[in-house]
Protein backbone atom coordinates (compact mmCIF):
# COMPACT_ATOMS: atom_id res chain seq x y z
CA UNK A 1 0.00 0.00 0.00
CA UNK A 2 1.15 3.49 -0.77
CA UNK A 3 2.83 5.59 1.91
CA UNK A 4 0.96 8.51 3.42
CA UNK A 5 2.12 11.98 4.40
CA UNK A 6 1.95 12.91 8.07
CA UNK A 7 1.81 16.66 8.70
CA UNK A 8 3.61 18.22 11.65
CA UNK A 9 3.45 21.95 11.09
CA UNK A 10 3.63 24.87 8.70
CA UNK A 11 6.55 27.30 8.65
CA UNK A 12 7.70 30.31 6.69
CA UNK A 13 11.16 28.96 5.91
CA UNK A 14 12.57 25.55 5.20
CA UNK A 15 14.12 24.07 8.38
CA UNK A 16 17.92 24.09 8.52
CA UNK A 17 17.90 20.34 8.75
CA UNK A 18 15.31 17.91 7.45
CA UNK A 19 16.99 14.84 8.83
CA UNK A 20 16.13 13.91 12.40
CA UNK A 21 18.21 10.78 12.68
CA UNK A 22 17.71 10.11 16.36
CA UNK A 23 13.96 10.28 15.87
CA UNK A 24 14.14 8.19 12.71
CA UNK A 25 12.25 10.87 10.80
CA UNK A 26 13.02 12.53 7.51
CA UNK A 27 11.10 15.72 6.85
CA UNK A 28 9.58 16.16 3.46
CA UNK A 29 8.89 19.88 2.97
CA UNK A 30 6.06 20.89 0.64
CA UNK A 31 6.25 24.44 -0.60
CA UNK A 32 3.57 26.85 -1.68
CA UNK A 33 3.94 30.61 -2.04
CA UNK A 34 5.91 31.55 1.04
CA UNK A 35 4.86 28.65 3.26
CA UNK A 36 6.22 25.18 3.89
CA UNK A 37 4.18 22.25 5.12
CA UNK A 38 6.56 19.93 6.94
CA UNK A 39 5.58 16.29 6.66
CA UNK A 40 7.09 12.85 6.75
CA UNK A 41 6.21 9.60 5.01
CA UNK A 42 4.30 7.20 7.17
CA UNK A 43 3.02 3.72 6.66
CA UNK A 44 -0.66 3.03 6.13
CA UNK A 45 -0.14 0.25 8.69
CA UNK A 46 -0.05 3.06 11.19
CA UNK A 47 -2.07 5.85 9.67
CA UNK A 48 -4.69 4.55 7.29
CA UNK A 49 -8.14 5.52 8.52
CA UNK A 50 -9.00 2.00 9.73
CA UNK A 51 -5.65 1.35 11.35
CA UNK A 52 -5.48 4.75 12.97
CA UNK A 53 -8.87 4.21 14.56
CA UNK A 54 -7.68 0.88 15.96
CA UNK A 55 -4.42 2.37 17.19
CA UNK A 56 -6.18 5.17 19.02
CA UNK A 57 -7.47 2.58 21.46
CA UNK A 58 -3.89 1.58 22.25
CA UNK A 59 -2.42 4.07 24.73
CA UNK A 60 1.11 2.75 24.11
CA UNK A 61 0.86 3.43 20.40
CA UNK A 62 -0.71 6.83 20.97
CA UNK A 63 1.90 7.89 23.50
CA UNK A 64 4.78 6.86 21.21
CA UNK A 65 3.40 8.70 18.21
CA UNK A 66 2.28 11.82 20.02
CA UNK A 67 5.71 12.18 21.59
CA UNK A 68 7.26 11.86 18.16
CA UNK A 69 4.85 14.44 16.76
CA UNK A 70 5.76 16.81 19.57
CA UNK A 71 9.54 16.22 19.39
CA UNK A 72 9.67 16.91 15.66
CA UNK A 73 7.74 20.15 16.07
CA UNK A 74 9.89 21.25 18.98
CA UNK A 75 13.07 20.61 16.98
CA UNK A 76 11.79 22.75 14.12
CA UNK A 77 10.64 25.37 16.60
CA UNK A 78 14.23 26.01 17.66
CA UNK A 79 14.83 27.77 14.38
CA UNK A 80 11.59 29.65 13.67
CA UNK A 81 7.92 30.13 14.47
CA UNK A 82 5.77 27.08 13.74
CA UNK A 83 2.09 26.57 13.17
CA UNK A 84 1.63 23.16 14.80
CA UNK A 85 -0.95 20.75 13.48
CA UNK A 86 -3.26 18.66 15.57
CA UNK A 87 -2.06 15.09 15.96
CA UNK A 88 -3.13 12.81 13.17
CA UNK A 89 -3.32 15.18 10.21
CA UNK A 90 -2.56 12.83 7.36
CA UNK A 91 -2.67 13.25 3.60
CA UNK A 92 -2.59 10.81 0.75
CA UNK A 93 -0.17 12.73 -1.44
CA UNK A 94 1.82 15.90 -1.94
CA UNK A 95 -0.76 17.43 -4.26
CA UNK A 96 -3.34 17.42 -1.48
CA UNK A 97 -0.87 19.01 0.92
CA UNK A 98 -0.23 21.73 -1.65
CA UNK A 99 -3.96 22.29 -1.96
CA UNK A 100 -4.11 22.76 1.79
CA UNK A 101 -1.37 25.37 1.63
CA UNK A 102 -3.04 27.10 -1.28
CA UNK A 103 -6.48 27.26 0.33
CA UNK A 104 -5.07 28.62 3.57
CA UNK A 105 -2.15 30.59 2.21
CA UNK A 106 -3.07 34.01 3.51
CA UNK A 107 -4.38 32.72 6.84
CA UNK A 108 -1.23 30.66 7.49
CA UNK A 109 1.02 33.58 6.61
CA UNK A 110 -0.92 35.90 8.89
CA UNK A 111 -0.80 33.57 11.87
CA UNK A 112 2.88 32.78 11.36
CA UNK A 113 3.66 36.50 11.27
CA UNK A 114 1.74 36.94 14.51
CA UNK A 115 3.58 34.03 16.19
CA UNK A 116 7.05 35.17 15.15
CA UNK A 117 9.13 36.09 18.20
CA UNK A 118 6.60 34.73 20.68
CA UNK A 119 6.34 31.72 22.97
CA UNK A 120 3.40 29.82 24.36
CA UNK A 121 3.46 29.02 28.07
CA UNK A 122 0.90 27.05 29.98
CA UNK A 123 -0.22 27.50 33.55
CA UNK A 124 -2.33 25.07 35.51
CA UNK A 125 -3.28 25.86 39.08
CA UNK A 126 -4.39 23.14 41.48
CA UNK A 127 -5.97 23.38 44.90
CA UNK A 128 -5.98 20.86 47.68
CA UNK A 129 -9.53 21.42 48.89
CA UNK A 130 -9.04 19.92 52.33
CA UNK A 131 -5.93 21.96 53.00
CA UNK A 132 -7.74 25.00 51.65
CA UNK A 133 -10.70 24.47 53.96
CA UNK A 134 -8.34 24.23 56.95
CA UNK A 135 -6.54 27.44 56.06
CA UNK A 136 -9.82 29.28 55.57
CA UNK A 137 -11.37 27.99 58.78
CA UNK A 138 -8.37 29.24 60.68
CA UNK A 139 -8.21 32.64 59.01
CA UNK A 140 -11.68 33.70 58.01
CA UNK A 141 -13.29 35.93 60.64
CA UNK A 142 -16.83 35.10 59.59
CA UNK A 143 -16.20 31.41 60.19
CA UNK A 144 -14.61 32.00 63.56
CA UNK A 145 -17.70 34.00 64.58
CA UNK A 146 -20.01 31.20 63.50
CA UNK A 147 -17.86 28.71 65.39
CA UNK A 148 -18.43 30.68 68.56
CA UNK A 149 -22.17 30.64 67.92
CA UNK A 150 -22.16 26.86 67.59
CA UNK A 151 -20.25 26.35 70.82
CA UNK A 152 -22.76 28.44 72.78
CA UNK A 153 -25.87 26.97 71.13
CA UNK A 154 -28.00 24.09 72.43
CA UNK A 155 -27.73 20.66 70.78
CA UNK A 156 -30.54 21.06 68.27
CA UNK A 157 -29.53 24.49 67.15
CA UNK A 158 -25.86 23.47 67.04
CA UNK A 159 -26.65 20.67 64.59
CA UNK A 160 -28.53 23.07 62.35
CA UNK A 161 -25.79 25.68 62.57
CA UNK A 162 -23.12 23.11 61.75
CA UNK A 163 -24.95 22.14 58.58
CA UNK A 164 -25.23 25.75 57.53
CA UNK A 165 -21.58 26.18 58.36
CA UNK A 166 -20.60 23.42 55.93
CA UNK A 167 -22.51 25.21 53.18
CA UNK A 168 -20.96 28.49 54.13
CA UNK A 169 -17.44 27.06 54.10
CA UNK A 170 -18.07 25.60 50.65
CA UNK A 171 -19.15 29.04 49.44
CA UNK A 172 -16.10 30.72 50.90
CA UNK A 173 -13.78 28.11 49.40
CA UNK A 174 -15.27 28.76 45.96
CA UNK A 175 -15.12 32.49 46.53
CA UNK A 176 -11.47 32.39 47.54
CA UNK A 177 -10.46 30.05 44.73
CA UNK A 178 -12.13 32.33 42.20
CA UNK A 179 -10.45 35.35 43.71
CA UNK A 180 -6.99 33.76 43.71
CA UNK A 181 -7.17 32.30 40.21
CA UNK A 182 -8.54 35.54 38.81
CA UNK A 183 -5.71 37.46 40.47
CA UNK A 184 -3.08 35.10 39.06
CA UNK A 185 -4.56 35.08 35.60
CA UNK A 186 -5.03 38.85 35.36
CA UNK A 187 -1.50 39.62 36.56
CA UNK A 188 0.08 37.21 34.10
CA UNK A 189 -2.19 38.38 31.29
CA UNK A 190 -0.55 41.80 31.50
CA UNK A 191 2.73 40.29 30.27
CA UNK A 192 1.08 38.42 27.40
CA UNK A 193 -0.01 39.27 23.88
CA UNK A 194 -2.85 36.76 23.94
CA UNK A 195 -4.38 34.34 26.40
CA UNK A 196 -6.62 31.32 26.37
CA UNK A 197 -8.62 29.75 29.18
CA UNK A 198 -9.08 26.04 28.67
CA UNK A 199 -11.39 23.57 30.29
CA UNK A 200 -10.69 22.28 33.76
CA UNK A 201 -9.50 18.69 33.66
CA UNK A 202 -10.95 16.28 36.20
CA UNK A 203 -8.88 14.13 38.55
CA UNK A 204 -9.44 11.05 36.40
CA UNK A 205 -7.32 12.69 33.73
CA UNK A 206 -4.75 14.57 35.82
CA UNK A 207 -4.34 11.70 38.27
CA UNK A 208 -3.59 14.27 40.97
CA UNK A 209 -5.22 14.38 44.36
CA UNK A 210 -5.81 18.14 44.09
CA UNK A 211 -8.49 19.78 41.95
CA UNK A 212 -7.50 21.79 38.93
CA UNK A 213 -8.86 25.31 39.25
CA UNK A 214 -7.23 27.07 36.33
CA UNK A 215 -6.04 25.87 32.94
CA UNK A 216 -4.61 28.74 30.94
CA UNK A 217 -2.26 29.40 28.05
CA UNK A 218 -0.32 32.59 27.43
CA UNK A 219 1.28 33.84 24.23
CA UNK A 220 4.26 35.93 25.28
CA UNK A 221 6.64 38.10 23.34
CA UNK A 222 10.21 36.77 23.79
CA UNK A 223 11.23 40.13 25.18
CA UNK A 224 8.69 39.86 28.00
CA UNK A 225 9.36 36.30 29.11
CA UNK A 226 11.45 37.54 32.04
CA UNK A 227 8.55 39.72 33.11
CA UNK A 228 6.19 36.73 32.94
CA UNK A 229 8.61 34.70 35.06
CA UNK A 230 8.90 37.50 37.60
CA UNK A 231 5.14 37.79 37.96
CA UNK A 232 4.89 34.04 38.39
CA UNK A 233 7.60 34.14 41.06
CA UNK A 234 5.72 36.91 42.83
CA UNK A 235 2.48 34.91 42.74
CA UNK A 236 4.11 31.76 44.07
CA UNK A 237 5.41 33.74 47.03
CA UNK A 238 2.14 35.55 47.56
CA UNK A 239 0.15 32.33 47.66
CA UNK A 240 2.69 30.07 49.34
CA UNK A 241 0.92 28.13 52.12
CA UNK A 242 -2.44 29.53 51.09
CA UNK A 243 -3.41 26.52 49.00
CA UNK A 244 -2.84 27.11 45.26
CA UNK A 245 -0.25 24.90 43.57
CA UNK A 246 1.30 26.24 40.37
CA UNK A 247 2.27 24.09 37.40
CA UNK A 248 3.86 26.21 34.70
CA UNK A 249 5.22 24.61 31.52
CA UNK A 250 6.76 25.83 28.31
CA UNK A 251 7.77 26.96 25.87
CA UNK A 252 5.31 25.06 23.74
CA UNK A 253 4.62 25.21 20.04
CA UNK A 254 1.69 27.58 19.83
CA UNK A 255 -1.07 24.99 19.82
CA UNK A 256 -3.42 27.36 21.58
CA UNK A 257 -2.85 30.33 19.34
CA UNK A 258 -2.95 29.13 15.79
CA UNK A 259 -6.65 29.57 15.22
CA UNK A 260 -8.05 32.04 12.78
CA UNK A 261 -8.90 35.54 13.90
CA UNK A 262 -12.54 34.48 13.75
CA UNK A 263 -11.99 32.28 16.81
CA UNK A 264 -12.76 33.62 20.24
CA UNK A 265 -9.60 34.43 22.19
CA UNK A 266 -8.89 36.93 24.92
CA UNK A 267 -6.87 39.25 22.73
CA UNK A 268 -5.57 42.55 24.08
Amino acid sequence: MKELLYLYCVTKDKPSSCNFEDLGIKIHPVYFRGTYALASSVSPDDFSEDNLEKHLADMGWVEKHIRLHEKVIEEIMRGQAVLPFKFGTVFENETNVEKLLKTNNLEFKAVLARLEGKEEWGLKIYCDSEYFKDVICKEDERIKEKDKEIVSANKGKAYFLKKKMQEFIKEIVNEKISEYTKDCFERLKITAVDTRINKILPKEVTEKKEDMVLNAAFLINNKRIKEFENVLGYLKTKYADKGPIFDCTGPWPSYNFCGSSKEKTNKR
Binding site: P84, F91, L100, T249
Partner: protein, 58 residues
Amino acid sequence: MEILDRALEKGVVISGDIVISVADVDLVYLGLKVLLSSVETMERLRGAPFSGATEEPT
Protein backbone atom coordinates in the same frame (compact mmCIF):
# COMPACT_ATOMS: atom_id res chain seq x y z
CA MET B 1 -0.70 14.59 29.89
CA GLU B 2 0.42 18.06 28.89
CA ILE B 3 1.14 16.78 25.41
CA LEU B 4 -2.29 15.19 25.11
CA ASP B 5 -3.76 18.52 26.13
CA ARG B 6 -2.19 20.18 23.17
CA ALA B 7 -1.45 17.82 20.31
CA LEU B 8 -4.78 15.99 20.52
CA GLU B 9 -7.10 18.89 21.09
CA LYS B 10 -5.48 21.93 19.58
CA GLY B 11 -3.16 23.03 16.85
CA VAL B 12 -4.37 23.74 13.36
CA VAL B 13 -7.55 21.77 12.95
CA ILE B 14 -7.87 20.94 9.33
CA SER B 15 -9.21 17.72 7.94
CA GLY B 16 -6.53 15.78 6.25
CA ASP B 17 -7.45 12.95 3.91
CA ILE B 18 -7.68 10.69 6.94
CA VAL B 19 -10.29 11.72 9.44
CA ILE B 20 -10.20 11.00 13.16
CA SER B 21 -13.62 11.28 14.71
CA VAL B 22 -14.19 13.30 17.87
CA ALA B 23 -15.26 10.15 19.68
CA ASP B 24 -11.92 8.51 18.91
CA VAL B 25 -10.07 11.45 20.37
CA ASP B 26 -12.18 11.39 23.51
CA LEU B 27 -11.31 7.74 23.98
CA VAL B 28 -7.62 8.49 23.89
CA TYR B 29 -7.89 11.59 25.94
CA LEU B 30 -9.61 9.94 28.80
CA GLY B 31 -7.55 6.82 28.68
CA LEU B 32 -9.17 3.44 28.57
CA LYS B 33 -9.67 3.11 32.32
CA VAL B 34 -11.97 6.08 32.37
CA LEU B 35 -13.98 4.81 29.41
CA LEU B 36 -15.93 2.63 31.81
CA SER B 37 -17.48 5.58 33.62
CA SER B 38 -16.98 7.94 30.80
CA VAL B 39 -20.31 9.44 29.87
CA GLU B 40 -20.56 11.63 32.93
CA THR B 41 -16.89 12.50 32.79
CA MET B 42 -17.13 13.46 29.15
CA GLU B 43 -19.98 15.79 29.98
CA ARG B 44 -17.97 17.44 32.69
CA LEU B 45 -14.93 17.66 30.43
CA ARG B 46 -16.88 19.31 27.69
CA GLY B 47 -17.86 22.47 29.40
CA ALA B 48 -16.48 23.55 32.76
CA PRO B 49 -16.25 27.34 32.45
CA PHE B 50 -13.71 29.55 34.14
CA SER B 51 -15.23 30.12 37.53
CA GLY B 52 -13.02 28.31 39.99
CA ALA B 53 -14.18 25.16 41.73
CA THR B 54 -17.88 24.84 41.23
CA GLU B 55 -18.25 21.31 42.49
CA GLU B 56 -17.49 19.75 45.81
CA PRO B 57 -14.35 17.67 45.26
CA THR B 58 -15.20 13.97 45.35
